[in-house]
Structure formats: structure tokens, C-alpha cells
């Protein structure tokens, strides 16, 4: 029942979002909606592995950057259509995810170790993309401007809206499926108590590999979208720590292991970054400092994220009523 209600809620929310292009007239507002959806996709991809699987990645940029570079390199160096690049980027990111997953999960590396391994892999990829020539090295890659639908570039940003809306919908539906499927039950069992899950016959390794693959795929797809939207990439954008931090902050703020958490988190993060830009301007460091403070505060006071704020307040008042 809960699952069916969640599906209905999900479809209603995405249905409402889908009305935006028809009544939002200003391009900047449309860009805001696109940005929130893109951040939600990034956050939801982390949520699959971190929120549902309990495996905290500190280097999701490894997947994001791989997706972004794939679509850019295929286009620029080989002239391959970005729609194919979209799939290729997702798949290559999945491959990277499986390699990282295999390296870590084979020996049952948990918690801090996994965070370290992902961080190190992202850093290795950043150094590599800085040193080889087909990625343009430190100069980066500029995707040539050619605004056509067949080129995954749009004159009207409503085109970008529909692409990111559809990608988000697929990702959120996948997470909804995780919430109700046997695979999802295994995954959450592994998160809650790995040894108990193993004792009950869950194949821990394969479950984690499944989660890291899905997570990597959607993160890579978010990277492809980023590349097509901004048409520029360099190693510190693609594989830098900012993307990794944003990926984990979004679901943690919104609520880890929940379907709608990343959407809430994305809204909050985007609102905050706009707010700081408005009041402080583009001074380096301010926005990320605020993210850091927010991360600490949320972990301290609201470990289940903003989505739990209702239950937390209700629980408190109930406790007070009982006392």
C-alpha cells in the first residue's frame, strides 16, 4: 500500500513539474528548474548506494566525470552522436563503478575504507584526465555549439528541461522499484546489518555490486547532461571534489534512503547557492563553507534529513504530551 501511494505521489509530483514549460515564461526560472532536477538526479544516484545501501561514497565525481568526458570525447574526437554518447556515458560510468565496487567489496571493505577508495579513484581519474591528450588536458574540452535536437543541444531551454525531466523520472522510478523489490530488501538488509543479512542468505557482494552499478549509471548520465548543458569540461569540474560533495550532501540534507529526499535536498541546495550568490556575490569558498556547516548541523540534529522534520516535531510534541 505504502509503495503504491508512493508511486502515485511520485507521478503526481513529476506530473506537476511537467506543467512548468507551459506556464513558466522566463528563461532564468526555467534554468533554475533544470538545475534543481539535475542536482536531484545527481543526489538520487548517490542515494541508491549511500542511502539504501549504506555505502558512503566520497568520490561520486569518478562516475559523473566519466559520463561527462565520454559524451564530450566521443563527439569531439570521433564525431559520435551525443544521444549515443548518453548511453555510452552511462555505461562507461557503470563500468568504472563496477571496477571500484569490485576493488572494495571483494574484501568486504566497509565504511571509511569505501569512502577512501572512491575518493582515491576520483583523484586518480582527475590526474589522468589532466595528463592525457584526448581529454584536452588541463585546458579542457569545448563541445562545439550546434543547437539541434539530433545533437542533444537545444535553442530553447525547454528542450533541456524535457531531457532532464525524463532522466530524473527514470531514476526516481528505479529508486521506487528498489523500495519495493527483493533486490531493495537485500540492499537495505545489508545496510542495516551486513552480518545478519549474510546469515540469512543474502549475497552481500552481488547486492552491493548491483547498487554501485545503478548508482554509477545515473551519476554518469547526470555527467552527460552537464556536459551537453554547459558545453565545457575540465578535469577539476568533471572529477573535482565539488561534485562528490554535492552528490552526498543532497540526499543527506533531504533524507537518506528515502524516495523524495534528494528532490528536497536539491531544492534546498540550489536555493542556498542562489541566496549566497545574491548576498555575497561569487566569492570563492562561501557557498561550500555553508554546505559544510549544513552537513554538520544536519548530521548532528536531523540525521534522517529534512524529510523527517515532520515526524521529529510530532515525536517531540507527543513525548511532551506523554510526560
Amino acid at each position: 500500500m505504502i509503495n503504491r501511494n508512493q508511486l502515485i505521489a511520485l507521478l503526481v509530483v513529476f506530473g506537476l513539474i511537467a506543467t512548468c514549460p507551459f506556464w513558466v515564461k522566463s528563461a532564468p526560472t526555467m534554468n533554475t528548474i533544470i538545475a534543481v532536477l539535475y542536482i536531484a538526479l545527481l543526489g538520487q544516484s548517490w542515494n541508491i548506494l549511500g542511502g539504501y545501501g549504506g555505502q558512503f561514497s566520497f568520490g561520486h565525481a569518478a562516475f559523473f566525470g566519466t559520463g561527462a568526458y565520454t559524451v564530450a570525447v566521443l563527439q569531439i574526437q570521433l564525431g559520435i552522436n551525443p544521444w549515443i554518447g548518453l548511453i555510452a556515458g552511462g555505461l562507461l560510468a557503470t563500468f568504472v563503478a563496477l571496477v571500484i565496487g569490485f576493488a572494495s567489496f571483494r574484501y568486504g571493505l566497509r565504511g571509511s575504507y569505501f569512502a577512501l577508495v572512491t575518493l582515491a579513484f576520483a583523484e586518480v581519474l582527475r590526474i589522468l584526465s589532466n595528463s592525457v591528450s584526448f581529454t584536452g588536458g588541463g585546458v579542457g574540452l569545448l563541445i562545439p555549439l550546434d543547437r539541434r535536437f539530433s545533437n542533444l543541444q537545444f535553442e530553447d531551454n525547454r528542450g533541456y528541461f524535457w531531457v532532464i525531466w525524463a532522466l530524473c523520472l527514470v531514476c526516481f522510478l528505479t529508486v521506487w522499484w528498489i523500495g519495493r523489490s527483493r533486490f531493495g530488501a537485500w540492499l537495505m538488509a545489508v545496510r542495516d546489518n551486513e552480518d545478519a543479512a549474510r546469515a540469512l542468505g543474502v549475497d552481500v557482494f552481488r547486492t552491493k555490486m548491483g547498487a554501485v552499478a545503478l548508482s554509477g549509471f545515473f551519476s554518469g548520465v547526470a555527467g552527460v547532461f552537464y556536459a551537453q548543458f554547459y558545453l565545457y569540461l575540465d578535469p577539476s569540474i568533471a572529477y573535482g571534489s565539488a561534485i562528490s560533495i554535492e552528490s552526498l550532501l543532497v540526499p543527506i540534507i533531504g533524507g537518506m534512503g528515502t524516495l523524495f529526499g534528494p528532490l528536497i535536498g536539491a531544492g534546498v541546495i540550489h536555493f542556498l547557492s542562489e541566496l549566497t550568490r545574491h548576498f555575497v556575490g561569487d566569492v570563492p569558498g562561501v557557498a561550500l563553507s555553508i554546505y559544510g556547516v549544513l552537513l554538520i548541523l544536519i548530521v548532528m540534529f536531523l540525521p534522517r534529513g529534512l524529510i523527517s522534520i515532520g515526524t521529529v516535531l510530532l515525536g517531540k510534541s507527543r513525548r511532551r504530551a506523554n510526560a
Binding site: G54, F56, F58, A103, S104, R106, Y107, G108, L109, R110, G111, S112, Y113, A115, L116, V117, L119, A120, F121, E123, V124, I127, L128, N130, S131, S241, I245, L248, I252, V283, P284, G285, V286, L288, S289, Y291, G292, V293, L294, L295, I296, V299, M300, P303
Partner: protein
């Protein structure tokens, strides 16, 4: 074959850098060994200490080696307070939360530094910055030689402290058996915070030894933190001797990698070690369990 005339100096140079890596890693491994948490803010705190040394010199003319009397105690106090009143409060008994809180701390420290000091790279001038010592055909900058012996001395002092003092025994007891330590009357919160403080104080020492021959900018910690993690993973989480050996090995690998592959790919050797160790011997050279 590379001429030993180049090889040996580069090897010695790597050893001196490695001693500092070892010192940074020592703090990390102490914190991990006792609290079983990875301090992600380690690099950011090193950067903070480096700025401390820098401004003591710039504003008050205090020599970095004299700052050894000021910076490590200050770092100790910061570490103690952070552990006792922020990190432990935020954990809710879950290691993942500690990981996130220390990550949050590192983000805040690094970006505040970026905001206040901008991304300019700063160095200090001391009369001995460019002094050179000749050893086995290698010309070593004097600050590096001092740093090498300073790091070894600090490690020895720390080892003696852990082995001989009551607090050292309490820390080791806590690392082995948390509940047992509490039962025999050890104030767990206090000793945890002391361990964290000592681990962070190591960074203060490292900063004082490092700066005369090095530089500081807001990103400087980032490079060190990955190297320190690699060192700790290589040596075995929580192992003192492992951290020392690991640090020296990493220093040499970096120097050799720089010699054979060029500077930008020299770092690559470090990560290659990191990933290989995790793949084939995740307990490290001297560690016992994951």
C-alpha cells in the same frame, strides 16, 4: 639504466619527504587506532596549522622552529575541543556520521581559508631557507634535513609517551577494549578527546617543520590527506611502526615516480600503491584487521 648519481640523491630526497608524510600519518593512525574513525579533516587541519606558522612568522617574526612551542599546543587544544564537543556529539553512535562530520569540518576549514586568504600560495623567508647540506652526493636543503630528524624524534617521543605514561596506557587500553577501559575507571570521553588532540598536535609539529622549505595555500592539505591515508593504509590502520615505514616508502615512491614519469604522474604512483594495497592486502603491511 639510470645513473646512481641521480638515483641515490633522489632516493634520499624521497626519504626526507617521507619522514614528514610519516608524521602526518602518525596523527591519523593514532586517531584511527583509538577512536576507530577516519579523520577526514586531517589535511584541512594541517593547512590550518601551516597558516598558523605562516602568520606567526609574518606578523610577529616568530621563527617556525620557535613556533614549535606555540602551534602544536594550540592544535592540541583545537583537536580536544572539536572531538569532545562537536564530533562525539554528532556521532549518535554511528561511525558513518563521524565520517560525514569530519568531512563537513574539512569543507568548512578549507573554504573559510579560501575566503579569507584567497588561493594565493604563500611562502616564508628564513635565513636558512636556502642552506644546503651535502650527504652521499645529494644536496639537501637544510629545512628538509631538520624536518627529517624532527619527524623521527617526534615519532620516538610519541612512542615513549604511549609506552611509559599513564595517559599513554589509558589510550592503549581504550584502543583495545572500550568497555573494559570504562570499567577500570578510565574517563572515556576525556581520553578520546586527548587522543584526538595528540593526533592533531602531530600536525602542528609537521607544520612547523614543513613550512621553512614549503608553501601554504588553502588546497595544500588536500594533497597531504590522500598521501596520509595511503600511508596509513599501506602501513596498516592503527599501526605506529607501519605509519613510519609507510611514510618513508611513499616518499621514496613519489621521488622515484617523479624521476621516471615526470612530476604530474609521479603522484600517480602513490595512488597506484593505494589501490594495489587495498586490492591485495587491505590490512596493510603491519595491520591485523580491517
Amino acid at each position: 639504466m639510470v645513473d646512481p648519481v641521480i638515483l641515490i640523491p633522489s632516493f634520499i630526497n624521497g626519504l626526507t619527504t617521507g619522514a614528514l608524510y610519516a608524521l602526518v600519518a602518525l596523527g591519523l593512525t593514532l586517531i584511527y587506532g583509538v577512536l576507530h574513525i577516519i579523520n577526514f579533516a586531517h589535511g584541512a587541519m594541517l593547512m590550518m596549522a601551516l597558516y598558523g606558522v605562516f602568520f606567526l612568522h609574518r606578523l610577529f617574526g616568530i621563527d617556525p622552529y620557535v613556533a614549535l612551542l606555540i602551534v602544536p599546543p594550540a592544535m592540541f587544544a583545537i583537536g580536544y575541543v572539536l572531538q569532545r564537543f562537536v564530533i562525539s556529539k554528532a556521532s549518535h553512535g554511528r561511525d558513518e556520521n563521524i565520517l560525514l562530520v569530519t568531512l563537513g569540518l574539512s569543507i568548512v576549514i578549507e573554504n573559510m581559508a579560501l575566503y579569507f586568504f584567497r588561493s594565493d600560495t604563500r611562502t616564508i623567508d628564513t635565513p636558512y631557507s636556502f642552506e644546503v647540506v651535502e650527504f652521499a652526493g645529494a644536496f639537501l636543503p637544510l629545512p628538509k634535513v631538520v624536518a627529517f630528524f624532527g619527524a623521527l624524534l617526534t615519532a620516538a617521543l610519541l612512542w615513549a609517551f604511549m609506552a611509559r605514561t599513564d595517559l599513554g596506557r589509558a589510550i592503549r587500553a581504550l584502543a583495545k577494549e572500550r568497555r573494559g577501559a570504562r570499567l577500570v575507571g578510565i574517563n572515556v570521553d576525556h581520553v578520546f578527546a586527548m587522543s584526538f588532540g595528540i593526533g592533531v598536535a602531530c600536525l602542528g609539529v609537521a607544520a612547523c617543520l614543513l613550512l621553512p622549505g614549503y608553501y601554504v595555500n588553502p588546497q595544500v592539505g588536500y594533497g597531504f590527506v590522500l598521501i596520509a591515508f595511503t600511508t596509513v593504509v599501506l602501513g596498516g590502520m592503527g599501526s605506529f611502526v607501519g605509519a613510519m615505514i609507510g611514510g618513508l616508502v611513499i616518499g621514496v615512491v613519489e621521488a622515484m615516480g617523479g624521476l621516471f614519469l615526470g612530476d604530474s604522474l609521479g603522484q600517480f604512483g602513490i595512488f597506484a600503491i593505494f589501490i594495489l594495497i587495498l586490492l591485495f592486502r587491505p590490512t596493510g603491511l603491519l595491520g591485523h584487521k580491517v
